[in-house]
């Protein structure tokens, strides 16, 4: 029986080919826009996560009295003998602070890296909280960062996986950063804070005592603003809450672009939801007309014993079949749109050195499945009311109203 009703629904779709094709095309455009839009938005968000963090932090919190060489991008703290407690920013729980990444920096000589008297910046960071170093990673070993691993700034050269002796202690070159134009960043040797702390004895053996190498001490914090917060608000909150610190601002334009683009993506999401709702209404209007046109047949079906659920089911199968086909074609259309996007905008962005990170396959497939399921739901919801009304009417009324 379900096969017969499904067959009936399929045959009905074939009766008005032009109308059915238009319905399928309308749903395909909606589904395609939804699929491509969702995938692109997700990819843009991912790219933003990489791209904007590459622009550096919004603010830097360092000990009051520390000398800072302000650069366009706040990527690392500057060397100083002054230190802060590692939990300082977290304990303050400031609403205007979105993320904070503590860093330690030790400028050392005789480390064994480079020529004998070269000074080297050893930078310790927390890989779990970092957002200014790892986004610049352009090459890395095929595993996670471990104790004893170091990452080299773009200005230093050593093969990945090779051994690097620092103060005579072996370390593994885990990765290399891209060019940033920020001197400390390009010349730095980066490692997890614990790895740097483990070098304290060796460094102090060369006669230099560094408080920052003690556990629980940091040189400063890189700060990302909370959504909607301004640099001024955060600066005021930090200075009024934390004692003995200085706040260094980065380029406020970057913060504005970051927050503005986030709002823009939210706006696109709202537009996509509105478009989906309008497609559902269009399907509903169309199926109201179809039900009116076919009321004689529906009356006949009821007259020969079709139950309300069967009449409703047949109309719903018909709508869901059409919108499901539309949804599937829409996904194919979305793939084409994304291929075009890849060949144009993404290609140009890549040439400019702006990273565009596509979503992984599993998420893309999930978006495709979601677009098809939503299309089917749009069909089901669109036909529900007109079909429900028809199923409630007397069979004779339906037959007579058509006659």
């Amino acid at each position: 029986m379900p096969w017969l009703l499904a067959n009936l629904a399929l045959q009905n779709l074939g009766r008005r080919k032009a109308r059915t094709l238009l319905l399928i095309a309308a749903v395909a455009v909606g589904s395609g826009a939804l699929f491509a839009g969702a995938t692109l938005m997700s990819s843009i968000e991912r790219s933003m996560a990489v791209g904007f963090t590459r622009m550096g932090a919004d603010l830097m919190v360092v000990p009051d009295g520390a000398l800072t060489n302000i650069t366009a991008a706040l990527l690392t703290v500057e060397p100083t003998d002054l230190v802060l407690n590692a939990g300082l920013v977290d304990k303050a729980r400031l609403a205007s602070v979105g993320r904070s990444a503590p860093q330690k920096i030790a400028r050392v000589e005789h480390s064994g890296i480079g020529s004998h008297h070269d000074s080297v910046d050893l930078i310790g960071f927390d890989p779990a909280r970092d957002f200014t170093i790892l986004p610049w990673l352009v090459e890395k070993l095929n595993r996670g960062l471990q104790a004893g691993d170091v990452i080299l700034g773009a200005g230093r050269d050593a093969p990945l996986g090779s051994q690097l002796l620092i103060f005579g202690r072996p370390h593994v070159v885990y990765g290399r950063l891209g060019r940033t134009g920020v001197g400390t960043h390009e010349r730095g040797v980066f490692m997890a804070s614990a790895t740097l702390e483990a070098l304290a004895g060796a460094i102090e053996g060369h006669g230099k005592k560094m408080p920052v190498l003690q556990p629980g001490k940091v040189t400063g914090f890189l700060i990302e603003l909370a959504p909607g917060a301004t640099s001024l608000q955060a600066r005021f909150a930090i200075l009024s809450t934390l004692q003995g610190v200085k706040v260094v601002s980065g380029d406020t334009t970057l913060s504005g672009i970051r927050q503005g683009l986030t709002s823009l993506l939210d706006g696109i999401l709202v537009l996509m939801i509105v478009m989906l709702a309008s497609t559902a209404m269009m399907v509903s209007v169309l199926f109201s007309a179809i039900v009116t046109e076919r009321r004689g047949e529906l009356g006949l079906l009821k007259a020969i014993g079709a139950r309300r659920a069967q009449v409703l089911g047949m109309m719903m199968v018909e709508a869901m079949l059409a919108t499901g086909i539309g949804g599937t074609l829409g996904v194919a259309l979305g793939v084409l749109v994304m291929r075009l996007y890849e060949r144009s905008l993404v290609y140009n962005l890549d040439r400019l050195g702006v990273p565009f990170v596509w979503d992984d396959l599993a998420r893309t497939v999930a978006f495709a499945a979601g677009a098809i399921v939503l299309s089917v739901l749009v069909g089901a919801l669109g036909v529900l009311y007109p079909a429900w009304r028809a199923s409630r009417r007397d069979a004779y009324d339906l037959v007579r109203s058509e006659a």
Binding site: R15, A303, G305, R308, Q310, A395
Partner: protein, 222 residues
């Protein structure tokens, strides 16, 4: 077998209520052929629709084989209509997208027939009985109006109904075809013992009935 008590039907229109059937009492014995006659607009079709469970009465009851059909819920009434009543309309009433055999089998399938092959065998046999044995795979648009009407009779018989209702089934057919269709209906009544209630304008057809019900202005004419 069929009993109507105080049966009434009023249609609400923009210009006020229109009484199509007024407190009508009717009884038809099992296995009988009853003809309902009357002028256009006298309420014959409204009466048939209420008897057939297609249009809810404004008042009164319809009892078929001891079941007050309008006391049943929606689904129970649909099942009763499906299993106990066959209906032949006054117009071509086949689904255009289904073959004749599918149209005939449809009521059985809607009723939940488990044996699909058996249902289709029966549908083919009924079509053969109606002289359409070589047209089972044809679509309604590929056969004549008379053949469509015969297929509709076959469909009405697929679930072995106890009551066969025919609402002017030959009104748009030529005389020869009308005779053939009536032969089929009367044959069903005689050979299968199915109670037949037929609405007609044709007095000659009505005179063959065991019971003639004359309606005027929605009420029985004495």
């Amino acid at each position: 077998m069929l009993t109507c008590r105080q049966l009434s039907k009023t249609y609400r229109t923009e210009r006020g209520d229109v009484a199509a059937v007024t407190e009508l009492d009717l009884e038809v014995e099992a296995g009988r052929y009853a003809a309902i006659i009357g002028r256009s607009g006298s309420g014959k079709s409204s009466l048939m629709a209420m008897i057939g469970g297609l249009s809810r009465p404004s008042g009164g009851t319809v009892t078929i084989d001891g079941t007050d059909i309008w006391g049943l819920g929606d689904d129970a009434l649909a099942r009763f209509r499906n299993g106990r009543i066959g209906f032949v309309f006054q117009f071509a009433s086949l689904l255009p997208t289904l073959r004749l055999v599918d149209n005939v089998a449809l009521p059985a399938m809607l009723g939940g027939a488990r044996d699909g092959a058996g249902t289709y065998d029966k549908a083919s046999a009924l079509l053969a009985r109606m002289g359409l044995g070589n047209r089972v795979d044809a679509y309604p648009s590929e056969v004549s109006a008379g053949e469509q009407r015969r297929a509709a009779i076959a469909r009405a018989l697929i679930n072995d109904p106890v009551l066969l209702l025919a609402d002017e089934p030959t009104s748009d057919l030529d005389e020869q075809t009308e005779i053939e269709i009536m032969d089929e209906l009367l044959g069903v009544n005689r050979e299968l013992g199915t109670t037949l209630v037929l609405v007609t304008h044709n007095l000659a057809l009505a005179e063959q009935a065991g019971q003639i019900v004359h309606i005027a202005n929605g009420a029985l004419v004495a």
